[in-house]
Amino acid sequence: MATKPRSESAVNALRMIPTKWAVILLGILIVYVVLQPRLNQWFGWNLPSVASMVGDEKPAKATNKKGESTKNETSRNDTAKPTKKGNDVEPDLEKESNPETASSKKKPAEKTKTAEEADEEREQPISTLGKSQNNNPSQPTKTATKPKNESDESDPLYGFLTEVGRNRYESPAGLVYGPGSEEGHRLKHIARHLEDQPDRPGSHGVFKGSMKAFLTTIDEGYARAKKGAKGTTKKEDDGLVVYEITFEKAIGFIGGEAGGRKKNPATKKLRLVVRGSNVITAFPF
């Protein structure tokens, strides 16, 4: 015997219940349809869409972790729930580094990757840094004006930085990321803060979001701090300038051993250390 189509049986079921209840159920359904994507976005839930419940469509993923950075708001919204996520960047250390360092930094995060994280991974291009990009001075410099549809996947500058010299990249706010640090490049160094290091003594600030969102957040903070805007401080220390910027929303969480002991509290604060306009480091704290 042939089975009835699902939609037909649903209609028959609706006919069997009183009109009043049918209207109420319909109302609830409409409210769910409207609120489902927003709830997913606000709370990072993964409520299935009506379409996915009725048909074979896969449940929609939480919409607040898209790789595309409309603004860093996107990534900052994620931070209510700190997780030890896999980095979207695996810096490829080029300088001779002590094995102890490498081991302490490369502890794998003990969490399975989600689809969102995989998306973010595709955004990362740092591994190419320090491998002498654009060594040819005659070659045109890469800029942030690159068409969006080329995607940031293969762009070591995240569609955000401008190459201003050999391995030196400038942000729209004027911060320069150049060679230096144990990792060989400042971008690789700050990328350490996209991942928790739970065994590291003390605290280790972790930005919750992609590298591009991190760079955008740093830039936004720097622009505000330079103006002396509310919620920012500046401290000079032997050539180093340490800016502290408080954002409206959480940007990350406190990791490391100390953060872990406090159950990785979320934080709205960013500390940026520069020498002139050269970035030394930046991290949530």
Binding site: E182, P201, G202, L240, T281
Partner: protein, 100 residues
Amino acid sequence: MTAPLIYVESCPVCGDGLCRIRVCITDQRLNGCVLCDECEAVWTDPSLQERVSRKPDADDPQCPGCGQSLWSKNAHWANIGEVCLLGWYDRVRVVSAKEG
């Protein structure tokens, strides 16, 4: 088996870094200093009393003993033996790397 992490304390400048012992070997001489692994502030010894200023045009932190970049191939994080040679063993904390 990974080497232990040797550090003095959290960095008083940036708050997130660890002040670690960095050594460089020049002319068969071991030079030691304390270097923050986050903000690259340098001190002459684990008392963290005397900061080492960086030349304005220098990209990298410099060894107070020989002036070379502390990120050069001649420099590395000190192991326990080197910390002992510098006479600083009782001023550092040693954290064993956890296996697996």
